[in-house]
């Protein structure tokens, strides 16, 4: 089952919502991404495309999308264009390392907030946690359920070469950033009757760390695994 985790990205008005695009030398125009929390790189890429289209749809048909390897491409589908970032944070999350110029299509070099399955992920157990309040006296027990959270845990196996990417994504999660967990290739919505689909999660607030374990301590060249406990938001 194909799986990936996309860290959410927040666009804040007046803080990290703008960049400048100069299409075909016509002069730079400021493009503004609608503020909000984008739960995946795909969603953010779509918003970036909308922002460019708001300024340049009469001149070109830009395509901004998340490529399957987690990188993002920005394509004018025609003439070359320049793009200048106002916010490093927006640039970094889209996977670019600098301003763009001289080409009609650019592809990000990084996937800073995307963890894509490279080895099977297992034990994606699902459960419900009820918070209980009650008294426990002799011959008398009363318990009330006061709140419920949907819990998920997954053991992720990864290659050693992907460790930096894992730690980047986990760094976001541990800071409290929510994420979208795609649990199948179909990307349909998750439901209680269908455990595939996508799920919006954050790390279990009671777990503020995670452990990496190497599968074979005697041979650190191959794989490692880690457990992530998440709750549906």
């Amino acid at each position: 089952m194909a799986q990936r985790i996309d860290i959410a990205y927040r666009v804040i008005e007046g803080v990290n919502d703008t960049f400048d695009v100069d299409y075909d030398g016509a002069g730079a125009l400021t493009c503004t991404v609608s503020p909000g929390l984008y739960m995946s790189s795909k969603a953010l890429a779509s918003a970036v495309q909308t922002a460019i289209d708001d300024q340049w749809s009469a001149s070109a048909s830009f395509e901004v999308g998340a490529i399957s390897d987690g990188t993002i491409s920005i394509d004018s589908t025609s003439a070359s264009f320049d793009l200048t970032w106002d916010a490093v944070s927006l640039r970094n999350w889209l996977g670019f390392s600098g301003n763009l110029s001289g080409s009609s299509v650019y592809t990000g070099s990084l996937q800073p907030g995307v963890l894509i399955e490279s080895l099977p992920w297992v034990d994606d157990a699902h459960g419900w946690l009820w918070s209980l309040k009650g008294i426990n006296q002799q011959h008398k027990v009363h318990i009330s359920k006061v709140s419920r959270r949907d819990l998920w845990s997954v053991r992720i196996f990864e290659t050693i070469g992907n460790i930096a990417q894992v730690r980047s994504v986990m760094g976001h999660l541990l800071r409290g950033t929510p994420a979208t967990w795609y649990r199948s290739a179909t990307l349909t919505a998750w439901s209680y009757s269908n455990w595939h689909g996508k799920l919006e999660v954050c790390i279990d607030p009671r777990r503020t760390s995670y452990d990496e374990a190497f599968e074979n301590p005697n041979n650190l060249q191959h794989t490692f695994s880690f457990d992530v406990h998440m709750v549906a938001i």
Binding site: R10, V88, K133, V146, S147, R175, P205, T208
Partner: protein
């Protein structure tokens, strides 16, 4: 975007930094923040110390307010600054350095008034850097650009002082215990510096939302004063010190121990007559001043025609005669002989300008030592009328009374005489605007300050006491005697006292009792106590603290105005009637500011507490004790905000029950205490019957000058509200919430939904219930940022549901089933329509004609346009109103938090806190 906006974004978090008054450093919880455009924040004139502030436990535990006493215990925080390899913090906080330059101030150094430069005079500047450098005086940091052997040319002051007004004054050789006296090239004094703990928002990737320090997305989550010497932490690689929240400054005393005076002339007599007691008997001195320098005389001929009218406004000034009178009248100290001489010279000068050869004398009676007026005209018979009781008459001082009339007959005549014991050494009439006095020569008061100018004083004791104000005090020493002073520009009989005649007999002067005591002090006449609190807290005596710097040197604390949210004081002031807040008071000895605040604020249901204000600054503001008001709910707490595992715990609900209030409404200004004999007691007998005798609150109404009847009404109103509100046991819950509760404060109303929790009504679950925050602990860092709130949940009974006013709106126009409402006919913020919702049952009627109301249901609301269930037929007049329908017709959601008018006449009650179901 404000600092509050990001709290709902769970992916965003906080970083912290710390500033300390007067120190050129910013301690950061992590690395130097980087803005969204990738630019590190600029340090400005500060030096940044990265990863030095241990932010693992940043929390504001909030102050605890006592409902009983009105007192508040300030919160505190332990600041831990982690050391680096360069031992930076150890160097900064070395308060007992053996190296570095020091000098002692040798002359006055002023507040930072004007643009400078300021000259600082010291004993020697030899150890300081020659050209320019930094100076640390007390808690102030300044720079100099040049120096001489004994002076610094200070060109910049109050550096690294974001709150402002941290300038230091030094008064050389004054009687004040003035500090500091030592200036250094390094900080030496840390206690008392304020510490600001700032938080700023960062996005999940660690970039800061702001692009510089103190931006809009930053807020000051705590400010306190260092109360202990910085010390090394147990790990020996950190510096620790405790800070107490800024409201701790209210515990300092205000007012001053001032020199005291006396109307007796004893010190004067000793000086003039020598130190031997036996000689005192021989000296007689008179204070001839504004109250005792006039002589009223009318001279008539034998036919009764007035020849000379030197009476009333034309009375003769015995000190100036025909000369120009002194303005204001000068008080002179005269021996007996000088008084007789001045009288003879000046009175006869005036008389003889009109009636030649008429001579009037004032003399001592040889036998018995009394005084007499005598006179002579050798040829013409004149009727001489002396009015002893005339305004400011010298006769009053000498003991004469009434009117004496005699007719000259060519021989020397005695017009009037008085016994020696009736004469006074000084006489101050009830209307005198200048009052002479001497300072008490009391060894215990040698270090006391001189009276404040302008100021207040109490003359006399107990029932004879009179409170006066004066504009200035001047020395009226003469060649005859020194040590005599005079209050000028005196207003008499203030603060409920009566203007009285004060006289000092010669026996008083020479006896041990002396004349009337004069107690100097601080006073306020008919001003709002809220503004008085600001003045007491901020006054410097030099007027350089802005608008609230009323009092003289040594009276105020004097704190920086930036520690107070003066806007909230003004807002509270505008909310209260003049009767509620206008006070006068006299203070002759230091008193704790917090006690004054409690006495003034508690009866009117106000309190002072520190919190993050609307500008993101941690300041002291004024809160209000009030019932939960649904429409003013600042926070809605349900399971999405509350901690999963332990959301709510019951606390004791009867420990703060108030079963009675005793108010002492009459303040004895002169004795600076309440009159025990007058009190108003409000007892909640129902509460006493149910809970037994519990807390009875005592309020001493300090400084009110209201009549007994008004006091009774006012205090009954206040006390009834309190007894009613706190006369029953309460549901008190301790709630753990996430960080969305950070912006709630003590006294705020919050809305609660706690499913499944057992309730006192026998059921389970609180749904959309309202409570008032009694205490809130704000946890800004650590594993579980959030807040722990102690909330008093209002009773479920609808009788305890309050709203600030009966929801009303003015109808401006109608069109079909739509009516348009005026935006702010009944509200100041938001709009009137905010208090209505779709589904509400309302009535539309014209003013004065409630009987022809039309009841409708609100179908929809858009802006100020309300769509009703059907069109109303009445014509929209000059004043057409929309109100909630009667209680019986209203829907449940209306009943839950709204106020209703229950009777058919649509009468409103007059309670301050809005309308209630009746």
């Amino acid at each position: 975007m404000g600092y509050k906006e990001h709290v709902n974004n769970p992916d965003m978090s906080l970083r912290f930094y710390v500033k300390i008054q007067g120190l050129p450093y910013i301690w950061l919880s992590g690395e130097v923040p980087i803005a969204q455009d990738g630019t590190p924040w600029l340090s400005g004139s500060y030096t940044l110390v990265p990863s030095s502030f241990d932010a693992s436990d940043v929390q504001d535990i909030g102050c605890n307010l006592s409902r009983i006493s009105g007192g508040a215990s300030p919160a505190s925080m332990l600041i831990r600054l982690v050391e680096d390899r360069a031992y930076t913090n150890g160097g900064i906080f070395a308060w007992d350095k053996q190296t570095g330059a020091l000098a002692n101030l040798a002359d006055d150094f002023p507040y930072e008034t004007g643009s400078g430069p300021w000259t600082m005079t010291v004993d020697s500047t030899a150890d300081f850097v020659a050209s320019s450098g930094t100076l640390y005086l007390g808690r102030e940091t300044m720079t100099y650009t040049s120096k001489t052997a004994t002076t610094f040319n200070v060109t910049a002051r109050t550096l690294y002082d974001p709150v402002g007004y941290g300038d230091t004054v030094y008064r050389h050789n004054s009687n004040l215990p003035s500090a500091p006296r030592v200036v250094a090239d390094h900080p030496r004094n840390f206690i008392g510096r304020y510490v600001q703990v700032y938080a700023h928002w960062v996005t999940a990737d660690g970039y800061a939302v702001d692009d510089a320090f103190d931006g809009d997305a930053s807020f000051e989550c705590f400010r306190g004063f260092i109360r202990e010497l910085p010390r090394a932490g147990s790990d020996w690689s950190s510096i620790e010190f405790e800070i107490e929240a800024i409201d701790s400054l209210l515990r300092t005393t205000v007012g001053a121990e001032l020199k005291q005076g006396n109307l007796s002339l004893e010190p004067l007599a000793k000086w003039a007559a020598g130190s031997s007691d036996t000689e005192i008997q021989q000296g007689k001195f008179f204070l001839v001043g504004g109250s005792s320098r006039k002589f009223h005389i009318i001279v008539r001929d034998t036919a009764g025609a007035v020849v000379l009218n030197a009476s009333g406004p034309n009375a003769i000034d015995i000190l100036t005669g025909t000369g120009t009178p002194d303005v204001p009248p000068v008080t002179e100290v005269l021996t007996e002989e000088q008084l007789f001489g001045a009288f003879f010279l000046n009175v006869n000068q005036v008389i003889q300008a009109t009636v030649s050869n008429l001579e009037i004398r004032l003399d001592r009676i040889f036998s018995g030592g009394g005084y007499e007026y005598s006179g002579l005209h050798t040829s013409i018979n004149y009727s001489i009328e002396i009015n002893h009781d005339g305004q400011d008459s010298v006769c009053s001082m000498l003991g004469f009374k009434g009117t004496s009339t005699s007719v000259t007959n060519g021989s020397f005549l005695i017009f009037a005489s008085v016994a020696a014991q009736d004469a006074s050494a000084s006489y101050v009439s009830a209307t005198a605007t200048s009052i002479p006095f001497t300072y008490v020569n009391d060894a215990d008061l040698m270090t006391a300050m001189a009276p404040i100018e302008p100021g207040f004083a109490v003359i006399g004791d107990d029932e004879e006491a009179e409170i006066v104000s004066y504009q200035s005090i001047s020395s009226i020493a003469t060649d005859v005697a020194s040590g005599l002073y005079q209050m000028n520009g005196v207003q008499r009989g203030l603060m409920g006292t009566t203007a009285k005649v004060h006289r000092t007999s010669f026996q008083d002067d020479q006896g041990s009792e002396g004349g009337a005591d004069v107690r100097f002090g601080v006073g306020v006449l008919n001003d709002s106590f809220l503004l008085t609190i600001l003045n007491l807290a901020q006054s410097t005596g030099d007027g350089n603290h802005g608008g609230y710097d009323l009092f003289g040197v040594g009276v105020g604390t004097p704190q920086a105005p930036g520690h107070f949210d003066s806007a909230s004081f003004l807002e509270a002031s505008s909310d209260m009637t003049p009767t509620e807040q206008t006070v006068s008071y006299f203070l002759s000895k230091p008193e704790q500011l917090s006690k004054l605040c409690r006495d003034w604020l508690n009866p009117v249901g106000r309190f002072m507490f520190p919190r993050v204000d609307s500008q993101g600054q941690y300041t002291i503001g004024v809160g209000r004790q009030k019932p939960a008001i649904a429409s003013q709910s600042v926070l809605s707490l349900d399971t999405t905000q509350m901690h999963w595992s332990d959301p709510a715990t019951y606390q004791r609900g009867t420990s703060n029950i108030v079963t009675g209030v005793t108010v002492y409404p009459v303040w004895d200004f002169a004795n600076e205490e309440s009159k025990d004999s007058v009190k108003v007691s409000v007892l909640n007998t129902d509460a006493e019957a149910e809970y037994g005798h519990r807390n009875v609150i005592e309020w001493n109404l300090r400084g009110y000058t209201i009549g007994p009847g008004q006091a009774l009404d006012l205090t009954k109103n206040w006390a009834s509200q309190l007894a009613q509100r706190h006369g029953r046991g309460k549901v008190v819950l301790r709630l753990t919430a996430d960080r969305r509760a950070w912006w709630a404060n003590i006294g705020d109303t919050i809305e609660l939904t706690v499913p499944e929790i057992p309730t006192p009504d026998g059921g389970r679950g609180l749904v959309t219930r309202y409570g008032v925050v009694e205490n809130i602990v704000k946890i800004y860092s650590g594993d579980e940022p959030g807040a722990i709130l102690t909330v008093v949940v209002e009773s479920s009974a609808l009788t305890d549901a309050f709203m600030p006013y009966a929801p009303s709106a003015k109808v401006v126009s109608k069109s079909g089933s739509d009516i348009v409402l005026a935006a702010n006919e009944y509200t100041e913020s938001g709009s009137d329509v905010d208090y209505f919702s779709a589904g509400d049952r309302v009535v539309i009627h014209n003013e004065g004609d409630y009987s022809t109301r039309e009841a409708r249901t609100i179908d929809a609301i858009s802006g100020n346009t309300v769509t009703l269930s059907s069109a109303v037929s009445l014509t929209v007049g000059s004043w057409t109103a929309m109100d909630f329908d009667d209680y019986a017709s209203a829907i449940t959601s209306q009943r839950g938090g709204a106020a209703f008018i229950s009777d058919s006449a649509h009468q409103l009650s007059t309670g301050d806190d809005g309308m209630r179901y009746t």
